[in-house]
C-alpha cells in the first residue's frame, strides 16, 4: 500500500502543477507575392542564354487605386514582396522602374481556410492563375511558384532584356 499512497500523492500534485499555455500568435501570418527581377544575356562563347539577377536603380511600387507606396524610390533592389487583395481575385500594381512605368495584373484564387492555430486564426493564401503586364520596361513574366503563402519562396520572375 505504500507505493499506492505515493502514486496518489504524485498524481494529486500533478493536477495542481498543470502547465499554462501561451495565448499569443507566434507564427508567420504575412502573405506576400515574392518577385525577382532578372535579365537574360547571351554568352558569346556558347551562344546560349543565361539568366542573371537584375538590380533596379530606383523602384516605385503601389497598388492600383492606392495612394501609399509599397516601395518608394527604393535603390538597388533585386526582389520585392507585395500583398494581394484577400477578398478579390485580381490585384493590380503600378511599378516604376527608374523612369519607365509598367502595370502588372495578377489573377489568382483565394483560400481563406488556411488554418494556423487558435491563437493565430486563419490566413488567406493564394494560387496564381496568370500574371500579365504592360511591356514598357518588362519583357516577360514567368510564374515560378503558383502557391503564395508564408513561405519565403519566389513566386514570379520579371525579365528585362
Amino acid at each position: 500500500m505504500k507505493l499506492i499512497n505515493k502514486i496518489y500523492i504524485f498524481l494529486t500534485a500533478m493536477i495542481f502543477t498543470a502547465c499554462t499555455s501561451s495565448d499569443e500568435c507566434r507564427e508567420e501570418t504575412d502573405v506576400y507575392m515574392r518577385t525577382g527581377f532578372y535579365t537574360k544575356t547571351i554568352s558569346p562563347t556558347t551562344n546560349k542564354y543565361s539568366t542573371t539577377s537584375l538590380s533596379i536603380d530606383s523602384l516605385w511600387v503601389n497598388g492600383l487605386g492606392i495612394d501609399s507606396f509599397l516601395y518608394r524610390n527604393k535603390k538597388s533592389i533585386k526582389t520585392i514582396q507585395v500583398p494581394l487583395k484577400k477578398t478579390e481575385m485580381q490585384s493590380d500594381f503600378i511599378v516604376r522602374f527608374n523612369d519607365i512605368t509598367d502595370t502588372i495584373s495578377v489573377f489568382y484564387q483565394n483560400n481563406d481556410r488556411y488554418y494556423l492555430s487558435m491563437e493565430c486564426g486563419c490566413i488567406v493564401v493564394h494560387k496564381v492563375d496568370e500574371v500579365v503586364s504592360t511591356n514598357h520596361f518588362i519583357d516577360s513574366i514567368s510564374i515560378i511558384n503558383r502557391d503564395i503563402n508564408t513561405a519565403d519562396a519566389e513566386n514570379i520572375q520579371i525579365y528585362h532584356f
Binding site: 499506492i4 487558435m118 486563419c122
Partner: protein
C-alpha cells in the same frame, strides 16, 4: 514546459520501476483452487471533471464512464465512453465551440503478482492500451482577416465543421477496493493522435475524449467503480 518534461521523466521512471520490480517476482505460485476465468464486470464513473473543468475555467469538460471485465484477474478488457466539449474565446476573440461523444476500446494488464504467502487482494495496479475515436462537429468563429495596405477587413465564421479523430493511448492506473465491491483509483494516460494534419488544414482546438488537439496529450481520471 519544464514541468511537463519533469512529469514525463517521472512517469517513465515510475513505469519502469514498477515493471522491473514486478519482473523480479518470477516464482509462480501453484493454484490449488480452480477459479473461474471470468471474475466480474466493474462499472467506473470518472470523477475528475469535478476538478478538471474548474482548472480549465470551464472552457472544457469531459464526462466519462467505463465498463471493464476481469479475466483471470490478469487481463482487463475495457470499453470507455463519454461526452466532452469545449467553449473557448481566445485573446484575439476567435471562438471555438464543440461537443460530442467519444469511445475507447482497449485492455489493461495487471502488474501485481500475488506473493505466495501474502493475503489475497482485489487491489489492482494496471497498465494497458486504448484506441480512441470521436466523430464530432465544431465551430470556429470570429476570425478577422485584415489587410492594412488594401484596407480590407473580413470576418470568417466556420460552422459545423466535421471532424473524425482516432488516437492511441498508453495508460497506467490503480484501483483499490475501499469497501466490498466499491473501487476507487487513478488512471494516467498519454494520448497520441493517429494521422498527421496537412499544413494549413483546419483542425479542431479540442477533441472530445482526446483533449486539446496537440500531437499528444496527457490525461488523468479519478474513478469510482462498482464490481458486479
Amino acid at each position: 514546459m519544464q514541468k511537463t518534461y519533469k512529469f514525463i521523466i517521472f512517469s517513465l521512471l515510475l513505469a519502469f520501476g514498477v515493471l522491473s520490480a514486478n519482473a523480479q517476482v518470477k516464482k509462480i505460485s501453484p493454484d490449488t483452487v480452480s477459479k473461474p476465468w471470468f471474475r466480474g464486470l466493474r462499472l467506473d464513473l470518472d470523477l475528475s471533471p469535478l476538478v478538471t473543468t474548474w482548472l480549465s475555467n470551464s472552457e472544457t469538460y469531459s464526462y466519462q464512464a467505463a465498463v471493464q471485465a476481469d479475466i483471470m484477474h490478469k487481463y482487463f478488457p475495457i470499453v470507455e465512453f463519454g461526452y466532452a466539449g469545449a467553449d473557448r474565446t481566445a485573446s484575439n476573440n476567435i471562438g471555438f465551440k464543440t461537443n460530442g461523444m467519444f469511445g475507447k476500446i482497449g485492455v489493461d494488464f495487471s502488474l501485481m503478482k500475488q506473493k505466495k504467502d501474502a493475503k489475497p487482494t482485489n487491489n489492482l495496479f494496471l497498465a494497458g492500451v486504448r484506441l480512441g475515436f470521436s466523430n464530432f462537429k465544431y465551430d470556429l468563429t470570429n476570425i478577422v482577416i485584415t489587410d492594412n495596405y488594401w484596407n480590407e477587413t473580413t470576418t470568417l465564421n466556420y460552422l459545423n465543421e466535421p471532424a473524425t479523430i482516432v488516437w492511441f493511448e498508453i495508460v497506467a492506473g490503480i484501483r483499490v477496493e475501499i469497501i466490498k465491491n466499491i473501487y476507487m483509483g487513478w488512471t494516467v494516460r498519454n494520448k497520441s493522435a493517429l494521422g498527421e494534419n496537412m499544413i494549413g488544414e483546419m483542425t479542431p482546438w479540442y477533441v472530445p475524449g482526446f483533449g486539446k488537439n496537440a500531437g499528444s496529450s496527457w490525461g488523468v481520471n479519478y474513478a469510482i467503480g462498482y464490481m458486479f
